[in-house]
């Protein structure tokens, strides 16, 4: 289960709305206790994909290193990645799966006509062949 606190959630939804109709991306920082993850801080990152960003996002590894450094500085952990699906459901697409990594939770936010609609979280496997949905708790 992954639980996202209000301040982090506000950053995630705001980033997804601001970048609409493009896909956004970012990092989630917090704590991990077994299968229980808590997200206290969300870091909005730039979609580094060089092509059309309406249907694709790419994180710069350098940005992820900085996010991890920020987590360590705050005594937190990098626990997940978020991105948006503009005018599309929050499923884990084949593209998402093939470009994922099994170490983190992947939260997908569906943004419909510029407004938040719903979200889901996924745990990809090491072979990038399947992603299991995990329970997601977020503020309304």
């Amino acid at each position: 289960m992954i639980k996202i606190e209000q301040a982090a959630w506000d950053v995630m939804v705001s980033h997804a709305r601001t970048t609409y109709p493009n896909e956004c991306c970012g990092a989630m920082l917090g704590s991990v206790d077994g299968d229980q993850k808590a997200v206290q801080v969300a870091v909005a990152l730039e979609n580094a994909f060089a092509g059309a960003q309406g249907a694709f996002y790419q994180l710069r590894p350098e940005d992820l290193i900085k996010a991890d450094a920020e987590a360590r500085r705050q005594g937190m952990d990098l626990v997940g990645i978020f991105h948006s699906h503009p005018d599309c459901d929050a499923y884990f697409s084949k593209t998402d799966l093939e470009n994922s990594c099994p170490w983190y939770s992947f939260v997908v936010l569906s943004i419909q006509k510029g407004e938040f609609h719903h979200a889901n979280s996924f745990l990809p496997d090491p072979d990038q062949t399947v992603a299991v949905q995990e329970e997601l708790q977020h503020p309304r």
Binding site: F56, Y57, L59, R72, T95, L97
Partner: protein
């Protein structure tokens, strides 16, 4: 000794440490020492064929070793090595 930063989900395989300091002349030496000392970590970084998994990038300080000398990239005691996944995606594809 060079410092290797361990991503949160992999710390369970390195006695819950957030970094490990190891000796080695190159990145290849360090990764070999790391996965020798913590054998359960190996399958998370390397495929069955012994290659780094496709989503795993190795950085020395701020530099991706693919643009340096890959496994032969030299390291010194003052270097920090990061294990960073490649992450991308998109809404297309069901």
């Amino acid at each position: 000794m060079a410092k290797i930063l361990i991503p949160t989900p992999l710390r369970q395989f390195v006695e819950k440490k957030d970094s490990v300091e190891l000796s080695g002349a190159t990145v290849g030496d360090l990764l070999a020492a790391l996965t020798s000392q913590y054998s359960d970590l190996r399958r998370h970084l390397f495929s069955d064929e012994g290659k780094l998994r496709s989503f795993v990038n190795i950085y020395v300080n701020d530099e991706d070793i693919r643009y340096l000398s890959k496994d032969a990239t030299p390291v010194t005691d003052s270097d920090t090595v990061s294990i960073v996944p490649s992450i991308a995606g998109g809404r297309h594809g069901s």
